[in-house]
């Protein structure tokens, strides 16, 4: 027997709103030169954030971004009951060392670049159920740390094919609360591991697009909605290559999303000036685009409802070198402007 919270096969519709009380974004220098530069809270010119390594720098970034989100909500770490966070580094070291001083109970998450969606989903579920009044959700990535871990040492100067994406150095953090906010999470659709057999670690868009299509199709089915119900359907980091595949896969299912589809990976860098090939990627890519541009536009009423779908490629050098594919996963979160009739005061 399903309760009314359970919608269709994979979705939850929240009965009471869960608010995004505040959001914060911090990025590195390259992102600070891109088209979204004015939407970020902090642009740091030193990509190691003053630390001795990229990894420690990413930890520093997660720490500072989380603290900024808390300050905006007029909260301290001790006001947060649970933290939902993750990053791309093995064993989530950016998160571990970034949040250790907060003394907040942590649910460590790994969803590759879909982690922001996973964190917002579990955070909203936790607040809505009454397990916490206020939680923090955060996700980060770092170009240097990610290239070192997943591909080639930067010093090697390898050629990057046109299908490759550029890992965003950035962190997005969100305070979720049942109390107040101008933007709310009203539902989620949780994705499955989807494997189309793609084996190209330099074409992450192709690895992730089938997972995005899978969760988007199911979202439309579960909520009985269609592309017209959203101002934007926002994927995380498919890039140009992945976007094309997603639109094609959705068209095959009878949904034309072309005009309402936006990909954070295609927004964050300037295609001509910054030459990142297919676009941006990483947990941070979707997290900072939501924390900055999208939430700002929701707040001022430029947007009313978006479907936020961070997309992850489950790439591992171990499984990849053992001949395995790169499956994808994506998690959808419905984010809306607070309804007028709910306004307080």
């Amino acid at each position: 027997m399903n309760t009314s919270l359970q919608v269709g096969k994979q979705s939850i519709a929240f009965e009471k709103p869960v608010y995004i009380m505040s959001s914060a974004s911090m990025v590195g220098p390259k992102e600070g030169e891109g088209p979204l530069r004015d939407t970020f809270d902090v642009v740091v010119q030193d990509a190691t954030f003053g630390a001795d390594s990229w990894e420690e720098g990413e930890s520093q970034m997660m720490k500072e971004t989380s603290l900024l989100a808390l300050r905006k909500a007029k909260l301290k770490p001790e006001d947060i009951r649970y933290l939902f966070a993750g990053d791309l580094l093995g064993q989530l070291i950016a998160t571990t060392f970034g949040v250790v001083d907060f003394n907040i109970p942590l649910f460590g998450l790994y969803g590759a670049c879909s982690t922001a969606g996973e964190a917002l989903s579990l955070g909203a579920m936790t607040v809505h159920a009454g397990y916490a009044d206020t939680v923090l959700a955060a996700a980060s990535s770092h170009f240097g740390g990610a290239e070192k871990q997943f591909r080639f040492p930067l010093e090697y100067g390898n050629q990057r094919p046109m299908s490759s994406t550029w890992t965003v150095t950035g962190c997005g953090a969100f305070v979720l609360s049942k109390e107040y906010g101008e933007v709310q999470i009203s539902g989620i659709t949780t994705g499955k591991v989807v494997d189309y057999g793609v084996k190209d670690s330099l074409n992450m868009g192709a690895c992730m697009a089938p997972a995005a299509a899978d969760v988007l199709y199911q979202h439309f089915q579960d909520f009985k909605r269609n592309p017209k119900d959203y101002d934007w359907i926002v994927t995380g980091d498919l890039g140009k290559v992945g976007k094309e595949i997603l639109c094609k896969l959705m068209l095959d299912q009878g949904y034309d999303i072309e005009t309402v589809h936006m990909d954070c990976g295609m927004e964050i860098y300037d295609d001509v000036e910054q030459d990142t090939h297919s676009g941006g990627s990483g947990c941070g890519c979707s997290a900072v685009t939501l924390a900055g541009k999208l939430i700002q536009e929701l707040k001022v009423g430029k947007l009313n409802r978006i479907l936020f779908i961070p997309t992850g490629a489950l790439l591992s050098t171990v499984s990849y070198n053992e001949g395995q594919t790169v499956p994808g996963i994506a998690h959808a979160v419905v984010i809306e402007r607070r309804k007028k009739e709910e306004k307080v005061g």
Copy 2:
């Protein structure tokens, strides 16, 4: 304002029971020769589980264990609404390739060896809130894959200090349901990242014991309980070295847990015959001990209430080689025999 679900600083007390409908355990040959051999569902003699690599073998193990837990509950993958799972391998590849065929929405988790506790916690929260009627929680580890990733190639034959533990090749899977079961989860206390500055990757017990002490102390505070309220306080994989530290730290806080403390890492191998030094470790260590021995003893009434605390050392070769410490994390889950008055039919 806290609701009644929120207990103290870090805990949740479930108002309605969440049942462990079924559990399954699968282990490798070494674990099958240990003292718990008769409590496991399946002992596999080939540690690669018929696959071409340890990693693929671990995936196979997670798949088979999950399917066995489902069969015991008379369910199919399509009956499961969400899957909460993780392992020790970078990017959770054992999980990714283990569950891909199930087509179940996945929340990928990383809590090092505390993952079984994290999965049971989030799974129980999800069922209790009505987001799902039935979920699956699973965690695995593999000696070969873990040594390769975290320490030395097995072929190198490095000497292991007496403080080192042996990663368990094993997977535990649990079907959680609101409907029926003889064993129930009645509460959780979620742990924080705790860093005592230990830098020895071959002394994981010392890295994790402070995190176990932290969450255990908070559990006693939150629930207003003491060691006498539990038949066993079961940590995951502290081993002999970590156990001693935990008992000492708790005594410093005024709690003598010596007589009710059990560590899965000290139960799973024979100290004399199997010579694993400090004991067993890995996500699988606590998961298979719970799925086998502990749940069996709860079912027959030999135990009435245990506090299950899987313990994780947040070790990464990258951060470790950059001079960082190895922080710990642990998550506590209250597991009880179904109360008599709740019996159906």
